[in-house]
Symmetry: D2
Subunit: 390 residues, 4 copies
């Protein structure tokens, strides 16, 4: 049995509860790269290290969306090539992986070029540039992740296969399928047929939804008489109110998601459900903190054969509270207390669910087209006006 934990610290670093270290590669470009490696490298390294101690045994390179076409989007000033960034990220991941028993995975994700209706050849060329770095730096395996359209994901898998390394592929879709209406079952079949050894879901939805969707993928693969391993990297946010495009559409995205953050007990439940569903690459995406991964690792300690290093400072199921001064807090030092708790939001003026935005624009729509210039004031005004009439 092979069991992985993973988190991509780069993803949405710009937006979500970011620690200072938690920036995206895109933003990096604004800084001198050597300064980054000298001083900010500390924080990326520290982030990898905390997840390693929490139980992760895959270090995913800090390269989310780090393709050249994405980096030059909407007024972003570029001082460095994607290649430079990807290389530095590989080095940092490998350095920390070597501190423990961890693998390094390099990842590519969907491209603005695809959304802007560029050709298969153009899109594949984008992937190729990132892959060249991953091969040079000799990562252990590759992930094609965060694809809303299975067509583009298949293109990515085809490119990744050419490296000869193991290939995983995850879509950011829910039970309703991809943005073109292809079902999870069918998506999985196409990805496996294209050559992916591991398939699954990442980002956009909460653990419950993602596990449910991976189950549908597994069902499709098995029905087609194919074989695959399965993988899941959900959000650490509760999103029962999402429609097909996930948390991007929620009014709280990305700067008001705090009340949706999962507790460690939610994570225990997630880990168990994922494991029971036959998923063996169990990780996390936006919103995951090291203590979330630690909870996943603790839930599955028996299956993996060990507790994560970080457990030395974390009594399981609240047992550390036995040392608390107040007797009513000591009384909470037990599993059934935390398993059954329904935590309050402390926000009585807020609802518990939201109505997602649903503009109904998809690939090829003018407003989705990539542009190099910054969004203009006029463009913004049009968007604001439109948002009021939705």
């Amino acid at each position: 049995m092979c069991l992985f934990y993973e988190r991509n610290p780069a993803k949405y670093g710009l937006t979500l509860n970011e620690k200072d270290a938690d920036f995206s590669a895109k933003v990096l470009l604004k800084k001198s790269l050597c300064v980054w490696i000298a001083s900010w490298g500390f924080s990326v390294r520290q982030l990898h290290r905390e997840f390693l101690r929490a139980g992760s045994n895959v270090m995913q390179t800090f390269t989310f969306y780090a393709s050249d076409d994405k980096l030059e989007n909407r007024g972003n000033k570029i001082s460095y090539t994607g290649a430079q960034i990807n290389e530095a990220a590989c080095d940092l991941a490998r350095e920390v992986a070597n501190e423990g028993d961890a693998l390094v995975a390099g990842g590519v994700s969907q491209t603005p070029s695809y959304l802007s209706c560029k050709s298969e050849k153009d899109v594949k060329a984008i992937f190729k540039k990132q892959l060249d770095v991953f091969v040079k730096k000799n990562v252990d395996f590759l992930i094609a992740e965060y694809f809303e359209h299975v067509e583009e994901a298949v293109w990515a898998v085809e490119m990744l296969k050419e490296t000869g390394k193991p290939v995983a592929a995850t879509l950011c879709i829910g039970p309703q399928g991809d943005m073109h209406g292809v079902s999870p079952q069918e998506c999985a079949v196409r990805l496996v047929t294209a050559g992916a050894q591991i398939v699954g879901i990442n980002c956009h939805f909460d653990p419950e939804t993602c596990v449910r969707t991976v189950k549908m993928m597994k069902e499709g693969v098995e029905k087609a008489g194919l074989k695959a391993h399965y993988m899941v990297q959900p959000l650490a946010f509760h999103t029962p109110d999402c429609n097909c495009q996930g948390f991007i559409d929620l009014p709280e995205f990305p700067f008001g998601l705090e009340p949706r953050i999962l507790t460690r007990w939610d994570m225990h439940k997630y880990a168990r459900e994922a494991y029971k569903a036959g998923i063996r690459f169990i990780g996390g995406c936006c919103g995951f903190e090291p203590y979330h991964i630690r909870a996943v690792a603790e839930e599955l300690a028996t299956e993996r054969g060990f507790f994560p290093a970080a457990t030395e400072k974390h009594g399981p199921w609240g047992s550390g509270l036995e040392m608390h001064t107040k007797p009513w807090v000591r009384a909470r030092a037990r599993r059934d207390y935390w398993e059954n708790l329904k935590p309050s939001s402390g926000r009585p003026f807020c609802p518990s669910l939201s109505v997602p935005d649903g503009w109904g624009v998809t690939r090829g729509h003018a407003e989705l087209m990539q542009q190099k210039e910054a969004t203009s004031k006029d463009q913004l005004k049009q968007l604001f006006d439109r948002s009021k009439t939705q």
Copy 2:
């Protein structure tokens, strides 16, 4: 005008959304100290650094509850003296403070000895041991913080004054006053009379409640014809449902508080309210992440005359979203959107408020007495049984 930001990363490190670095000094003792300084020092240092970049100009030493009587509580194995821990913490804080324009503050807090009805002399001796380190390491000023009883806080202030350093004093109480029923107004008068130059509130309640309580303290001080500076370090959790003892009593304490975490926009509001109330030492306690402090610093950038370093990667009021691919997300790149958002919890099966525990036990009660042995199974069972009948 003097304006500070601060956060004590040690506090509740054991329990709250902890990163691996975020342990309490008490837990530290389980590790070899030299290992800690060699390897874990990285994470404490990194934590200080992130708050520095977020805009803090006070580094508070990582010494919360690091008194010898607390460290030997309920089965905790002690390998090192409190003095060793306090010294190491001072060095780490000073090292990072020197990277920027920051002060170092050393803090003492309430003692189990007081709760166990030890004498004034005994309690003062506890403070003395920590102070000796702070003087030796030459911290810039001192804080007596996290006191539930003003009587003990006054004792602490009297000891701190003897060092000749500036003294701040904060209680962890709300508008109802301290655990003996002394009003915030009267508490403040006693602390100022005892010699504190800065008085205020830390921990136990949300920003709104803490600012309201500091206002009451200010009212008391001014009515008495005294003078003082004011300080506030609230939780980063919404706690409108607390009674006099604060979030300790909430059923979610300490492992289910996630839905209560403040957004950055809540922090803007807090910073403004605190500033308007005349408070000039504006910081945070449990639950604060660097991005929370950054929001405080950004709200008050005009008053302070500068933005925090971390702002270079964070467009104010969501303006970074102008670069987002999806047009409906770009439409959120404006202040009024985020100011008026009522974020959902994504938890429709959870209530929005909780009923706090209220066991009604106070200083001197048998169940509050300090003990060195671990809580026994029998003791735990009695607590569990009692908790069911509350």
Copy 3:
């Protein structure tokens, strides 16, 4: 175009927010029938009258579950025959119908005999006894309503057809289909094939769910090349959290449903959605008060060509508030205010959704068997114990 409004005041009279008049026929048996007609007749009559004034043009007889096998259930003492009760109910309905322009409908519903696995012949004999009264009293049409199993509903329709009167048939199911898993589409086809001119849904779910289910029935009927009219009589309670068996399973059923009651504005929305779906018999079931039906009638006043009598005392869309003393209440005298209001529950300690009971027992299970003796203490204790382990 034929448009009806209806409500069966007898249904769940025992349990739901009952006014004194709002008893079920089953309970009636405990009273002397002549006393009932002399004194309680006032209240049944008054109830019919209020719905008539609110805009109903169908008076449904007060005979829900008034079959002999139901009346003798679990310790209920019987002083009168079902026939006596059914006759009295027909007279009261007709008396009030004659005060306006209304029809009288007699209804039969599912039988305990079916749940207890009695034969088709036995079950049909139960229906026959009620039908004899309806024929004798010459009601205008017949409704087979509140069936969880389409098989039994078909039996009822077959019996109703024999009277020669128009026949409507409604199931109390949701989008997941009947208790044997037959889809709404298929259920509708079977009912129309058996001879029902009107088919639809009543009870168990909220308006949104019921309208959605009737749409599925319509889809099935049209796909099969058949023809029918459509009917809907939902609950006046929001039930988004129900599973296949509807609000019976909600923990709040039947004595804690108040927070779920629909506002009049919810009713406007319901009426419009039902009408747009092609439904022309639009009524209500448990929880409907006359003011709810009035809102339905007001929403569809243009389509029907008249406002209900009760509108004379009810300004549309809050316009009556123009006369209010307080200016901020006068400011609410407008449609967009009420249409967009998200009403609070005033219950911050309560969640917004519940987890329904799901015991998984169905037709034929021992605990569903009809019995004449009252539920014994032993039986109750077993149920209580079991409910704790669900």
Copy 4:
């Protein structure tokens, strides 16, 4: 011991979940009075009767706000004098009271004249006209109710005393006191001193708040060495989020209050709390249905010595569910189930609390002045605009 239950069915009949019968006297004037007595009298009579059967032993006349100055407000067409309406209401109340063992109480309430700054003499003349009818019809006692300013309530009590009948006086205020800031304690003292034998609170707040406020009144009376009986007639809506002016200010007032309606179990708790507080006139105001009063009467059956007539069809604490078909519903036939239930709203998109309007206008403000003409479109527009900037 004397124990009453009461409800004024006229109050807010216009607005709140009204049954057809539940109109206010003000609206009545639009109808020919003889038509009203001939046909609508049925519904008023029926309403009195249902409350009588539910356990009320006071019938309060249907005369809320039925003073001439109120009846001619803001475009209301007057066909009849207040005297005619008041007389008819007395007759109806007496007729039903005689069917049981009930008293008839006549009530006066605050006047628009007071809000418009008319003189004491003018205001007292308004009360006099209603009192003349009550004396002529020989009601059993008098209530001065629904006063926001104790000054006006004292004037009313002074007039009521002149009739020689027993006098009760209730204010519609909360713990913060009347609109001029007079505390509940002081208000009570003034009312008792003016001659009221019974004092208390009605309307505007939920039971918990009203009972708390009556306790404060009792405290004031006792501290002053005076004697009185106590009375409470709260809303049947949860209003924890109100400020000093009560539910009028809530955004849901008056057409979206449904989710706040109390359950019968809430009523049990209310009745017990009121009784324990020494209150002996325990009734209800807006939102009360007969089944609510029945719950109050059932909770206090031992103290009163009898169950209400309506209990014959209502098993206490859900025991009627023992007859239910579904076993999981039978399992709910017990007191602890219903006492501990936290009922869901079924509205996950709604918050649990609201922010009340707070325009800060009080007696004498132009927008509160009485006017005979209907509110003009211009006036409405100004109000709408203002409401958007609050």
